[in-house]
Symmetry: C2
């Protein structure tokens, strides 16, 4: 009876929490045992370096937390993992809804694991706070990859700002790499600035397209096209093959309008089918060529160094804002000041200065 109750309440708790990671079913027991206690930083670090998925998932949860003590622990884990990270290729994958990102990742991920690679699939989706994950949400589309022991799928962190969501994903990459994942796929949707954020954390940026989606749609994505190292036209199967090949030519022509890339790489266009798997292998071959070139001409390493600096500065800038806007005195004054500014009672610049003065004075006292 007592045993039953414990079992039931434990089950009940399980139901309430949606497990953020997707692992093969035989790992569930390990997770259950692991979840019972709050592991120390040292335990997490050891777990991650041993490739323990539960430890990895818990550390990612710490990274995503807004709790200050969690963040301190997360930083400790990240710094300890750092010497064991960076040995991966980071691939960004974008495309508007409907191009088949999930099915492509499923097919591409399976191709990679068949080559003996360990694949982590992450996402940057700032809309997930509201929609509870519009991408990587529907795991049923990746049912093969979900079951794969050499794959780890983690949905987007949630957060109020794209910057925050992206930063957490960037930190998650380090943890995944330390856990032995050598190929990191980062999915994003064509919403706002999320591609730019993903572009600044990957080595290779892949733009997924389909044929016949209309010129207007394609045109609006030109900014994204400029970032792409490869354009892959998906759904090139059945009646679509001819159209996909035409689209490939068209995109190839369009790509030539952009200036030469700093990487020395000429972006490629190709077609593939996530259904028939035709062309999927070719995508990895393109990436291998890219890596060979950019590791030879040093661009690969320079870009990673630049990206690291970028994320340091981004983190500082974001934290400076968070500290300011979350300060109790600023919170007291912000709404009324905004109103005064709206009605031209005070100039936006003078109002800003006044709030900054309040903040400065309280900081000195705190």
């Amino acid at each position: 009876m007592k045993n039953d109750k414990i079992k039931n309440s434990a089950l009940h708790e399980k139901e309430g929490i949606s497990p953020p990671e997707i692992v093969s079913s035989n790992a569930v027991e390990t997770i259950k045992n692991f979840r019972k206690k709050q592991p120390s930083s040292q335990e997490l670090i050891e777990g991650i370096l041993n490739g323990n998925i539960s430890a990895l998932s818990r550390a990612i949860t710490l990274v995503e937390s807004t709790n200050a003590s969690h963040l301190a622990k997360a930083n400790e884990v990240i710094n300890a993992c750092l010497p064991y990270a960076n040995n991966s290729v980071r691939i960004g994958i974008t495309g508007v809804p409907g191009v088949g990102k999930s099915t492509f990742i499923e097919a591409f991920g399976k191709q990679l694991t068949s080559l003996g690679k360990k694949v982590a699939v992450l996402a940057v989706d700032p809309s997930s706070t509201i929609s509870h994950g519009s991408i990587l949400g529907d795991k049923t589309r990746m049912e093969e990859l979900v079951k794969d022991h050499n794959a780890y799928i983690r949905p987007s962190a949630s957060g109020e700002t794209l910057g925050g969501v992206a930063r957490k994903t960037r930190e998650t990459i380090t943890l995944c790499e330390a856990a032995g994942f050598d190929t990191i796929l980062i999915e994003t949707v064509g919403v706002g600035q999320s591609e730019t954020a993903v572009h600044s954390m990957v080595d290779f940026f892949l733009l997924l397209k389909i044929s016949g989606a209309g010129d207007e749609l394609q045109g609006i994505k030109r900014g994204i096209m400029e970032m792409a190292d490869a354009i892959v036209i998906n759904k090139a199967d059945g009646d679509n093959i001819k159209k996909a090949n035409l689209a490939k030519l068209e995109f190839n022509r369009a790509l030539h309008l952009f200036p030469t890339k700093k990487s020395g790489w000429t972006p490629t266009t190709s077609t593939c089918s996530s259904l028939t798997k035709e062309g999927i292998k070719g995508v990895w071959e393109i990436i291998e060529k890219f890596l060979k070139l950019t590791k030879t001409n040093n661009y690969y390493f320079e870009k990673r160094a630049e990206q690291n600096q970028y994320w340091m500065l981004e983190t500082i800038n974001e934290q400076l804002k968070t500290n300011f806007y979350n300060h109790p005195e600023i919170q007291k004054l912000l709404e009324s000041t905004k109103k005064a500014v709206s009605t031209d009672e005070i100039s936006p610049f003078v109002a800003a200065q006044e709030l900054l003065n309040v903040y400065q004075n309280y900081k000195k006292l705190s």
Copy 2:
């Protein structure tokens, strides 16, 4: 002899300083007299409210200064001017180099002053620090407007960041309005994010185009097209008229692909010639229609309130960064930390946290 020397040295000083404002020649004496002394805030405020161009120019110079005591004085002047500001229409004008922005502004400005308006022409050009003003630099293209008593032309503020340059221009608007200018034209070039900055300080956004500039060029500007309230095809004269009319139709079709604007306004397309003045009057008529609509449906006022809030937050965010990165302790550590981050000795996130901790601790002591 003594007189001569004074004259010479005074003349010499004049040559060394490039006068930032362009005023009619008969105002030069007034400026000379005014320049001799450092006016008080009160004198500047009175001067501005009396429409004194020298006082206006000096106040703008204070706004543009990086000296802390100048900024305090500038804030005092701005806040005193605020109740007399805001009675203007603010028009953003953009277009890639070669569309004839300067000649359009000359023709459009003259049209406005002929209607009895007082026109201030400002610019947001973050490249001006390096190029010493690529726009509004060549005053010879605006020789008619330069001589006009009812026009005031001020080149772009210089600065290291677009945010800083744009903020100074936004503050300058307030001063110009208080000095009696009822039509503010803000020119910008199609470089980086400068259009977005200008868009956030104007009521009406005008995109200048020319026919036959190539589809690729036009296409890349789609982001800008989305912000435009009017697309005006310039250089519609001589052999160009037919092509300009075709371009007008094409742009009109393209505009229909964008979602309806919050303002309720349907963007217009028209042609004009800065040479023959054909269509220049029509541009103002379009803006008048826009103002009538948006003042009736309240969008005009809501947008200004939103813009004020935006500039307050922008100013705060920029200042928080300036305070941090200019702090002596951070300046000591920043380069070495950037290097450690580049070489993966420390994680970008942990490095950011460490710098923030240093800053926080020194702040408390200062």
